[in-house]
Amino acid sequence: LKKEKDIAIIGIGVTPFGELFDQSYDDLVRDAALQAIGDAGIAMDDIQAGWLSTAFPEIGVYKGRSGMDLAEPLNLYGIPVTRVSNFCASGADAIRNAANALKAGECDVAIALGVEKLRDRSPQDGIVKMMVELTHPFYQKGFTAAGTFAVYANRIMHEYDVTREDIANISVKNHYHGTLNDKAHYRIACSLDQVLDSPMVADPLTVLDSCPTTDGAACVIMVRSEDVDPTRHQPVYLRGIGLSISTGWDLPFFNPRHDFLSFKATQNAAKTAYEQAGITKPMDEIDLVELHDCFSIVELLTYEDLGLCKKGEAKDLITGSATRLGGETPVNVSGGLLSCGHPVGATGVRMVVEVANHLRGNAGERQVKGAKTGLTHNIGGPGAIASVIVLSNEN
């Protein structure tokens, strides 16, 4: 397999995440893009191709249906811009597509920007409403996103020695991390009891086990490594990108062989990314992980799928302090989706920006000391699509 080493991220930008009632979709695009362009020290017109990640244009004012909605707020015309849509893996997929175009020589400077404006509607009027009103009238009808993951929580608690408290402790950890991130939607620590006692969303997952509905955008500027200018840039290198669709929207709920204990998509995406990056012992070789904790249970399952521990041992990672800031491999030091929120199309790019800040040594209070290699992970649909990106500050 061809190595991804030859692609570098030279500019990063991320907006504050939250209920940004005073900012439009276009405002978010401009904020993230101009930060990244400024960080890269390039001119807007140096950009030769773009990828826009928005998962749900229909929530809001139909912004993000095409690449046009990246070009328009920036007045960035005359270049190809493509909209990427792959549920929660959309952001990572925008970066993957930009990397491939750079490798193919279609362009020399690429922009990948993820943005989602969910809070022009109330939370129940957005993704929940979509699942209530617009999906297949019968298949999975009754689920919201929370429920499609809660069924995993109940199955794993039935099958293994995993307790409700183990799952909730993920949320406690990530909310603690969130207090250290001034761009997070929530900067409030919570206790185990608070997680357990917060309103039920989908049994056993409560409000504090669930990520909020959030606005935000994140952006990266990418070039081939040979074009990195060491005098201007603090590059971060893409060492591996895996993306895998390993089941469908409905299939997990109608396939008698699905065990509701793991996500094959994550395993497959990780395998690809690890092979490209030459990673054989993830826990030893990766210094920090940003993974897709849309619901606390997903982080627990993903420990195993990413190979951070053996099957059935995820519980030990959260019981100890291995994945806490200061631990062996801190996970979601940004606060994760649980604290940062989840502007769906932006999240994958936000994670790459987060890891890049650590690899540059610029992550402030939450800096993972001496971080050299980091990983981002997204899972989208009901565990159907996963992306894994391995980043390093060395080429």
């Binding site: 939370p123 009027d125 009754g142 429920g147 309103p199 396939n255």
Partner: protein
């Protein structure tokens, strides 16, 4: 000669007592359909286990949900009955249940049909505030009227029309005639005429089914019928309420299950139908079982919520409309309603979603496989943010007996109590219900409920 070859009944899970409806109410009960039930789901539930090749469906109801569309055709399609079937609706009065039976008998006697499915299904509610004054209850009954011998031989059927009606709708408004005139010239005169054709001594059991039956005692006495032993009291109404178009047939089944001998049902509503039966055995307990283990609605507020059916306004989310597609429902009905799955010819995995090849062994050949309606819970959750009259919506992943997996909502779970609580490994049965309670179009799919031991 025709027979009632077999029959099925369905009564909703919930009942409400008169004293919950009104402080002055007694202990009489009414069956109340759940928020996702209508006369179609009731009818289907009563008929779905009748194993017969039928060549006609007669659907009786006095509470139609369609106008300009046949309930009988809809049901026939849902049950995958043969094409070109005779499917008719009857429904002018609460007598329509026995109207269907009389017509079915005539079709069989005339040699037009071998097996006729008679279905009567009713869901009526009293006006708010008139609950104690208005008889009501919800339920459905199905019978196969056949040339083959069955549970009871039909020895005769007849219908006696009457020009006088006591109470009816005229141009959309209720008309109630002078009670002494209407009951005297209508009801009493009519039943006198009908029962006069019988030798009272030749009948072992007689049922007079009518909302006016309390006025019948003098007439019956004069004709020589005995209130004790011979005349069967309505023991169903205090338990389940008055089921409208289905009530006469429910009482007929009550007779079949509890009495032997020469039996007759007189079903009066603006004229009478008479059905005479010869019942030799009383071994069946289908109705008897259906009457058992009902759950009670324990507040008037819950009853109102059931009646309102889905004006959701919880958690700041008000339900508008749900996407559904008649094109899709027609195209995929074998799978959606017929529960047909696909069995992989390679590894035997049974999938519910059509695919180009098996997700397990990549075999490309499948054959259609009928999925079971019973199974075991693999995993589950409760959705507290899905709009519903009685949240949360329990979502259940079911491994069906004999293979295949389906994910469905739980139903009849108004009270999330021990009886309704489901866990991994528990056994459930699928039941066809309305998917969105307040949908603007018919929208039926499977849900599940616990199997009671």
């Amino acid at each position: 000669m025709s027979s009632i070859k077999t029959y099925g009944v369905y009564l909703p899970q919930f009942t409400i007592e008169d004293n919950v409806l009104h402080p002055k109410g007694g202990s009489k009960k009414h069956t109340v359909g759940y928020v996702d039930e209508d006369i179609i789901t009731l009818a289907y539930a009563s008929a779905c286990n009748l194993q017969s090749e039928v060549d006609a469906v007669l659907f009786a109801t006095s509470t139609p949900i369609f106008k300009g569309r046949y309930h009988a055709s809809y049901l026939a399609d849902m049950m995958s009955l043969k094409e070109g079937i005779l499917a008719l609706d009857l429904g002018t009065t609460d007598r329509s249940g026995t109207d269907a039976l009389v017509l079915a008998d005539a079709l069989v006697q005339a040699g037009k049909c071998q097996n006729v499915l008679v279905v009567a299904s009713n869901i009526s509610y009293p006006p708010i505030g008139s609950e104690l004054k208005t008889p009501f209850g919800h339920g459905a009954v199905s019978m196969i009227i056949s040339t083959e011998p069955g549970l009871a031989a039909i020895t005769g059927t007849a219908s006696y029309s009457s020009a006088v009606a006591e109470e009816f709708i005229y141009k959309g408004d209720k008309v109630k005639y002078d009670a002494r005139f209407a009951v005297g010239v209508g009801f009493k005169e009519n039943i006198k005429r009908v029962l006069g054709t019988f030798d009272s001594g030749s009948i072992d059991n007689l049922i007079v089914n009518s909302t006016y039956s309390k006025f019948a005692s003098g007439t019956l006495k004069k004709l020589g019928f005995k209130a004790e032993g011979q005349l069967m009291q309505d023991t169903l109404a205090p338990q389940i309420g008055y089921l409208g178009a289905a009530h006469g047939l429910f009482r007929l089944i009550d007779m079949i299950e509890n009495r032997t001998g020469n039996s007759a049902l007189l079903d009066y509503a603006n004229g009478s139908n008479v059905i005479s039966l010869d019942v030799r055995e009383t071994s069946n307990e289908i109705l008897g079982k259906a009457l058992q283990s009902k759950a009670e609605i324990n507040s008037y507020q819950d009853y109102l919520t059931i009646r309102k059916q889905g004006k959701f306004n919880r958690n700041g989310y008000e339900h508008a409309t749900v996407f559904s597609s008649e094109m899709m429902q027609e195209r995929e009905k074998e799978q959606l309603i017929g529960l047909k799955g696909f069995e992989c010819s390679g590894c035997g995995t049974i999938i519910y979603m059509k695919a180009a090849r098996c997700s397990h062994c990549k075999e490309e050949e499948f054959h259609t496989r009928q999925l079971a309606t019973k199974g075991k819970i693999f995993t589950k959750t409760s959705e507290h943010y899905f709009p519903a009259s009685f949240p949360p919506t329990n979502m259940i992943v079911v491994d069906l007996d004999g293979g295949g997996r389906i994910t469905v909502q739980q139903t009849d779970d108004m009270y999330q109590n021990e009886e309704a609580s489901l866990n991994i490994g528990d056994k459930v049965e699928l039941t066809l219900r309305m998917m969105m309670e307040n949908d603007a179009k018919p929208n039926y799919f499977w849900k599940c409920r616990p199997i009671k031991n």
